[in-house]
Amino acid sequence: MIEIKNVSKSYGGKTKALNNINFTVNDGEVFGFIGHNGAGKTTLIKSIVGIHDFDEGEILINGKSIKTDTLECKKEMAYVPDNPELYENMKAIDYIDFICDMYEVSEEVREKNIKKYAKMFEIEDKLNSPISSFSHGMKQKVALISALAHDPKVLIMDEPFVGLDPKAVFDVKEVMQEMLKEGKIVFFSTHILDVAEKLCSRVAIIKKGELVKVGTMKEVKGDKSLEKVFLDLEA
């Protein structure tokens, strides 16, 4: 479970990037985080995964605080950034191995998972290539494989569909459904509202650092489309 309690963060003591954010993501949920550019989605995601500090509040991952039990929390999570800035000088397989080493994944598990996801994303034959030779989409696939290779309980993704080809988008959705069945958490931000509408059990909408709506898809959109609700809130 991810519990976000009264989280606030400001930049330079002035601009409030996040203002008193409160919501919970339960086990076995695909949770969509929606908002326009600069609304605070990435700031909150980076705070959840322990990359950014926040000024007030608390974030708990399966009951452990990201502030005090940082390493324990990180071990349970995998993070896929919006812009995959990977180690360009490494081969793809070396990068995935490096991430697996950090999560202390056994050789058997990593071999099984790398094989499974490399085949799924159709980059098995490119794993020996340097990452610097990859396109944005291919880098995103490497980031996804390295995130999934250590069987995380919580998968956090920032705009995971950007740059992916339609087949890869479909595969990511499949992975999400698979994790859902295993009772794991998938938390992701997106601009693609129909994807969020089809995939998410619950969503949160953020505007200028403030949470404006959170709940099940039905609670948030009622009879309208998610796009309509989102545009109305933005108006």
Partner: protein
Amino acid sequence: MKKYISLIKACFTSEMSLFIINNKNKNKKQSKAVPIFIYCLIMLCFFAYANMFIDPLKQSNLAFIVLSLFVFLTAILTLIEGIYKTGSLLFNCKDDDLLLSLPIKRSTVLFVRIFKFYIFELLYNTVFMLPVIVAYAIRVDVDWTFYLTSFFMILLLPVIPIVISCIIGVITSGLSSRFKYKNLVQIIITTIFFVGLMYVSLNLQDIIKRLTENASSLNEIITKIYYPAGAFVNLVTDFKVVDLLIFIGINVGLFALIVFLISKIYFKINSRTKSISVVYKKDYKVKTNSVMNALIKKEWKRFTNSPVFITNAGLGLVLYLIMCILVAVNFDMFSGLIASQGFKITEAEVVKYIPIVSVALIAGGSFLTSITSSMISLEGKSFNILKSLPVSTSKLILAKVLSAVLVMLPFIFIGNAILFIKYDFTILQMLLVLAVSVILPLISELIGIIMNLKYPKMDAESDAEVVKQSTSATISVFVGMGLLGLTLYGLFKFLKMYGTDMTLLIITGIYAVILGLLLLYMKNKSVEEFNSINV
């Protein structure tokens, strides 16, 4: 014209942060105090050196020699700096895609790159030259023409070294871009150029002798060796507007010519340096490593992938090895050096001091090599990968320090082995020298990482900007030089008072304490600084 100004402004935004005092941000203001203090200290040192030289020369009306001497030395330093960073500054920059897609000429992109290089060298040269000019103006009776000439000299001093560096950079990158292992070839070619420069420097006496055979005055000699130095002295001693205009014209003309010529092949070479092919191979093998091993391997891959990073780190270490070999092979030169320090000793006694010399050499090799001072900055945007890992921050920092020390240790141990084999060391001396061999690189690399965490530069466009031009790298080099000076001073002082073994013990003890303090600082303050870096 407006768009060119915008372009230059955009390219310099991140570079100039050190020179903009932001009153609203107290922390940033404090963090600028250290570099400003160090730059002031260097300027004061140069002011003192210049005064030291001017005083005796003034009596024989030859004070102007100081000006040409410092111009020459600064130009040589700029050239050495430039040789191995130009390729990385001009080609394969991160903002290439953006700049080359803009509706501007390719030569303009190249101009911006060289201009950025020029501005950095201008600031670097000013730190050395300004105190000399001020000292000269105070000690020698000068008029307004001196100030005018000096102003133009400072402005134009970096031009010729930059032009030569650019030519070498283009040759190096152009040739290496044709090969599969571009980085390796670039390192080899750069090393060849560098060894060539070292050879010329070592044989400078012969070259000067040949040049001066037909020279009738000292000024003529200087002019023949390095035109700007001679021209500067000519203008200071006998100012003529025409000469000043010729001087400006030659420098500006050379700068424009090099931009024009390189722009003809710039795009072609730049495209070739970027070409990396995707390898299609179904077989791959997973390898399991411990967390620390994996982190060290990752750092090594980053290190071996950057020619400018390798050549920068390698210089001090190679010089250290050469010095060890010289001490082992050329004993006469070495004993002469000892005697010059005021030690009236026999040859047998000189051998007694070899362990001290060994420590002095290790200090030189260690303190003049700072690999970690750019390791945080080189992470760039991928820094967030490190921050998201389930690994403690102190372990992440320590891995960087250890990986750098592991690069240095083989060189230092080979140097030790040469001296251990050639001279008789007691067991205690060997143990102490080996202890110093580990402690000093650790100190040097801890200082580097501490500085880089204090002054990170996460938005650099090329490796050279971080490795050669960043605040942390510059401060680390000067702190290293200071520590080297203190070590040498301490060694000679203690040696005179306590003898070889006791001096070794004291020095090892002092550095062990410093190492402990630095580790403590790293575990607390540096961890905080690491966590506060937001990319």
